[in-house]
């Protein structure tokens, strides 16, 4: 017996969850299956639309202005700039107060852990007081046991980047952290639960102890930035509490993996899936698919009848009217490679690529990297195209990093493309069920 749904989304990252939510709004039964842990945990939690043009111009003040000039085949060009706005509004509705930036079309420049600024359209509320265009002076606080963020260095770096305020950095010991290799979730947990900690002055609570540690370093700054470890479930309360105690605005500086802002976004999205009635199964790979063999003309694309999901060794057929492929790019393993070629592993969709693997890269590490653009070409309905530019299947759409033709890292467009294409793929899939 096959499991039956209207829309089946494969992949549980930003694109997959957005597609599932967009489809579910249209009164169809949606299921989402995912295999690997989502790459959201690696991501900063920032929602970028476009920070730089493909030619490298930027940082762009207004990302929307630049969308219409993108080259043919770019995912934004495929869905159109209006869909990008709709998708972003859809995202704003899902995350509510957890994110900021919707009050303007202008990008924000958010200081991140290396000390540079990154252009982004939406940002977690926890980073809002840290924006680089805010001219209030800032104190950055790093922790001796957290080598990913060297606050004095980041402060100097912001200055070198020309930020319009004075930043100072200090490094302190995080009260209550006794192991040098404590994970970031341990820091967050201490603050979430305001645990009792030992300090030289005696027993106190984690938030109080941290505030006291920082207080002695304040020199009148109106805002204080910490690495993004300020709580998980109760991050807003932790931030507010620290801010009250110090009399400043507190903000987080986005960090590398594992990233708490990324994890918090993932939690928000999965709560939304549950609320929307999307059936979610994680940790299960799609291992095979079958087409129904029915088509009027030999030249028509085939229709996917079912996919086979491996549930702990049992091969369970999952049937749906429409399918969305949102399995990620090279990092998420939705696009894979061997010595002699790059491929899409589930449906074997066409991936354009230079024949010689020594043409997959250029020598400058930050040069115009062909491998960064690997992924599926799609039509304007987001259906993957074969080598002859015809749809691979009539009822399969692709969204997010599995798409080719754009370099999300250079453009700072990864989240925006996932949102826009996930949104459009989900909506079209739902419409296709009628």
């Amino acid at each position: 017996m096959a499991i039956e749904d209207d829309v089946l989304v494969v992949g549980g990252g930003l694109a997959g969850t957005t597609a599932a939510l967009a489809a579910a709004e249209r009164d169809v039964q949606v299921r989402l299956v995912s295999y690997r842990q989502s790459t959201l945990r690696n991501a900063s939690g920032l929602i970028d639309i476009l920070g730089y043009t493909p030619a490298g111009d930027g940082p762009l003040v207004d990302p929307f202005e630049a969308l219409d000039d993108l080259p043919t085949g770019h995912p934004y060009e495929r869905v159109g700039s209006e869909a990008v706005r709709e998708a972003l509004a859809f995202f704003d509705g899902i995350v509510g107060d957890a994110y900021a930036g919707a009050h303007t079309d202008a990008n924000a420049l958010v200081p991140t852990h290396g000390g540079t600024v990154k252009p982004t359209a939406r940002y977690p509320t926890s980073t809002a007081a840290g924006l680089a265009s805010d001219d209030r002076d800032a104190l950055l606080v790093g922790f001796e046991t957290l080598p990913d963020f060297e606050a004095p260095l980041a402060a100097s770096h912001l200055e070198a980047a020309g930020a319009p305020f004075t930043a100072r950095g200090v490094t302190v010991r995080f009260p209550g952290i006794v192991r040098d290799d404590a994970k970031v979730t341990r820091y967050a947990h201490l603050l979430d639960h305001d645990e009792t900690v030992e300090t030289p002055a005696g027993e106190t609570t984690a938030r109080e102890a941290l505030a006291e540690t920082v207080r002695t370093h304040l020199e009148g700054e109106a805002r204080v930035g910490f690495p993004a470890v300020l709580g998980d479930d109760r991050a807003d309360a932790v931030r507010a509490d620290l801010g009250d105690r110090l009399g400043v605005d507190v903000f987080e500086v986005p960090m590398g993996p594992p990233s708490l802002p990324g994890i918090r976004l993932e939690d928000l999205l999965y709560e939304a899936l549950e609320a929307a009635g999307v059936r979610v199964t994680t940790g299960v790979p799609v291992v095979d698919y079958e087409t129904d063999g029915e088509r009027t003309n030999a030249t028509d694309p085939e229709r996917i009848d079912r996919v086979v999901v491996d549930r702990n060794g049992a091969e369970v057929p999952h049937r749906a009217t429409q399918y969305v492929l949102a399995t990620g790019g090279l990092v998420g393993k939705g696009v894979q490679s061997e010595r002699d070629g790059v491929f899409e592993p589930l449906f074997d969709c066409h991936v354009p690529q230079p024949a010689d693997r020594y043409d997959w890269f250029v020598d400058d590490v930050f040069g115009d990297q062909p491998y960064a653009r690997f992924g599926l070409p799609v039509d304007r309905d987001l259906r993957p195209l074969d080598a002859g530019d015809d749809p691979e299947f009539s009822n399969l759409r692709a969204a997010g990093a599995v798409l080719g033709g754009y370099d999300f890292a250079a453009e700072k467009s990864g989240s925006g493309v996932s949102l826009a294409t996930g949104y459009v793929a989900g909506r079209r899939a739902a419409e296709g069920c009628r």
């Binding site: 252009p119 001796e144 790019g329 990092v331």
Partner: protein, 569 residues
């Protein structure tokens, strides 16, 4: 005229550092100059094999005998650089029985302990050997860390009063008539430890005697004084696997050929190699077919290599030499023996000798012979003690391991740290400060990184070769930034940024040759981490032109701000 130093050694590879240590221990005043980092030439680009001599037991028995002697000495003086893996010469069905027999007898003639294993016994030692491996000869090959060994020689030379200058390129030989009396060097960032973003300077260093130990680059040095030195540089590729598919050195038992050795090295296994003459040791093609050949051919011995993940490939250039008129066509036939060219005897130009040829395993013996020659020239009678005095890090290794506590580190990290640091472990790791892990892949802590920085300035590649940080699976994607963070505040932000960019680019260089499968995914992740969140590809601090911060979102026009000011929008 008084000279700046008694002996000036050119080249900071194993030979140059070995000579500097030897002469400094004999009480001579020594200066060593190296154009890049220590090991940057050939030493840092070898497969890490500590020869038992088995490889030369048929073709070159003099070299084989010297190898086993030096192999035993290095286990004694450099225990913290050597892993006693053992080695196998493996015979496949198509490999000749006659050669197998010659190899076995050759080993015995050269004093190399050798024992024949059946195919089944060989697979008990190395389970991933191919099912049709017929039999094997077991020999005492080992794995050696060339970086650690070379640096230990340099440190010991310094401990005996030598001056070691890296990033000091020789731009001219100082010659007065028929006498060479020194060099002019260009210090990339001034003399002393390297600091990025510091201006370069030049310096003339005069010496009673100059030793040209620049290996494949010896001809270029010679040319500065119109001396012709016929080095025949020959390139070889090495491909690094992400795990140790084997724990024993695996050699193919056949006369000669490319892609015939696998060396377990730290957390990795290194496949080697090719042998092709090149015209310029700094500029030669690094080709896809070479990498493919390593994997395809060595999969005949260890089939899982076909599907395994490689993390990078690199090429080294052998400093081969043969006397004029020998006329060997195939570089694989050129002797691996070394030659001491005294330019006084050879060219009528006094004051300098060049060393060419040779191999890593016998670097110490070469250094001894050259140091003897230099002492002879300078009328010094002191004798060599390098075979008996342990290198820094290898003193009292046994008692050290017996009495080791773990410095508060999780035990696998402590074990790896102490293996790398040897008897220096307590000096480096004992700290009251927090000591978090900086490089997760290789288990390198802050204290070890800072120790390396104290030796080598702002040069993160020099830190890398001392610690192995950024040499694991992620190839620096996760740890480069953290390594750079440790440079601050000793070095300023601009210096840190340049040092980070240089390390990240260097890591990418080798990774390009492993860009498929898992490592392509890793490369994309690394690129995304550094470009997406950190925006290092468009860092306004490094870019030309200013950012108009006021034009961007400055936050809500919030009256709830602490100081009540308006945002910029």
């Amino acid at each position: 005229m008084p000279r700046d130093t008694e002996v000036l050694v050119l080249g900071g590879g194993s030979t140059g550092c070995g000579i500097a240590r030897d002469l400094a221990m004999r009480g001579l005043e020594v200066t060593l100059v190296e154009r890049g980092n220590l090991t940057d030439g050939t030493t840092g680009r070898m497969h890490g094999l500590l020869h038992s001599g088995g490889r030369y037991a048929v073709s070159d028995q003099a070299s084989a005998t010297e190898c086993i002697e030096e192999n035993e000495i290095l286990r004694g003086i450099a225990g913290h650089c050597v892993e006693e893996t053992g080695g196998l010469f493996v015979q496949r069905p198509e490999d000749s029985d006659e050669y197998f027999q010659e190899k076995l007898e050759g080993c015995r003639e050269c004093g190399i302990p050798a024992r024949v294993l059946s195919g089944r016994e060989a697979r008990e030692v190395e389970p991933y050997l191919a099912d049709d491996v017929a039999r094997a000869i077991e020999v005492p090959d080992g794995a050696v860390d060339p970086f650690r060994l070379c640096v230990a020689n340099a440190i010991d030379a310094e401990n005996h009063g030598a001056r070691v200058e890296t990033h000091a390129e020789v731009v001219d030989l100082l010659r007065d008539g028929d006498d060479i009396y020194g060099v002019e060097v260009r210090h990339e960032s001034g003399p002393g430890k390297r600091t990025h973003a510091s201006p370069g300077t030049t310096e003339e260093i005069t010496a009673d005697y100059v030793v040209n130990a620049t290996g494949a680059w010896a001809g270029q040095i010679g040319a500065m004084a119109d001396l012709e030195i016929e080095v025949r540089p020959s390139k070889g590729v090495m491909t690094i696997m992400n795990v140790r598919q084997v724990d024993t050195v695996i050699n193919r038992c056949r006369p000669k050929g490319d892609a015939d050795i696998i060396v377990p090295h730290e957390t990795t296994a290194i496949l080697g190699t090719t042998d092709e003459e090149v015209s310029d040791p700094d500029d030669y093609p690094e080709e896809q077919w070479e990498v493919d050949q390593m994997i395809d051919t060595l999969s005949e011995l260890v089939p899982i290599l076909e599907e395994a993940r490689t993390i990078r490939s690199f090429w080294g250039v052998r400093p081969l030499y043969e006397p004029p008129g020998t006329g060997t066509q195939d570089p694989t036939d050129i002797t691996r023996d070394f030659f001491l060219l005294d330019h006084a005897d050879r060219d009528g130009v006094a004051g300098m000798s060049s060393i060419v040829g040779g191999k890593f395993t016998t670097y110490r013996a070469m250094a001894e012979e050259i140091a003897d020659h230099v002492c002879d020239k300078l009328g010094v009678t002191a004798s060599c003690s390098t075979a008996d005095e342990p290198l820094p890090g290898s003193e009292n290794i046994e008692t050290l391991e017996a009495g080791m506590d773990d410095f508060g580190l999780r035990s696998p990290v402590a074990r790896r740290s102490t293996q790398r640091l040897g008897s220096r472990a307590s000096e480096v790791l004992e700290t009251d400060e927090p000591n978090p892990v900086i490089c997760q892949c290789e288990g390198v802590t802050r204290a070890e990184i800072r120790d390396a920085i104290s030796q080598s300035g702002s040069d993160l590649n020099a830190v890398r070769i001392r610690t192995r940080a950024s040499m694991g699976n992620c190839q620096g994607g996760f740890c480069c930034q953290n390594m750079a963070n440790e440079l601050h505040p000793t070095y300023d932000e601009e210096t840190v940024r340049e040092a980070l960019d240089e390390l990240f680019q260097e890591r990418w260089k080798g990774e390009r040759h492993a860009l498929w499968g898992e490592q392509l995914s890793q490369a994309m992740l690394n690129y995304a981490l550094h470009a997406t969140t950190m925006n290092r590809d468009h860092d306004p601090a490094s870019a030309t032109g200013d950012v108009d911060f006021a034009a961007f979102d400055g936050g809500r026009t919030a009256s709830d701000r602490v100081d009540g000011t308006q945002g910029a929008d």
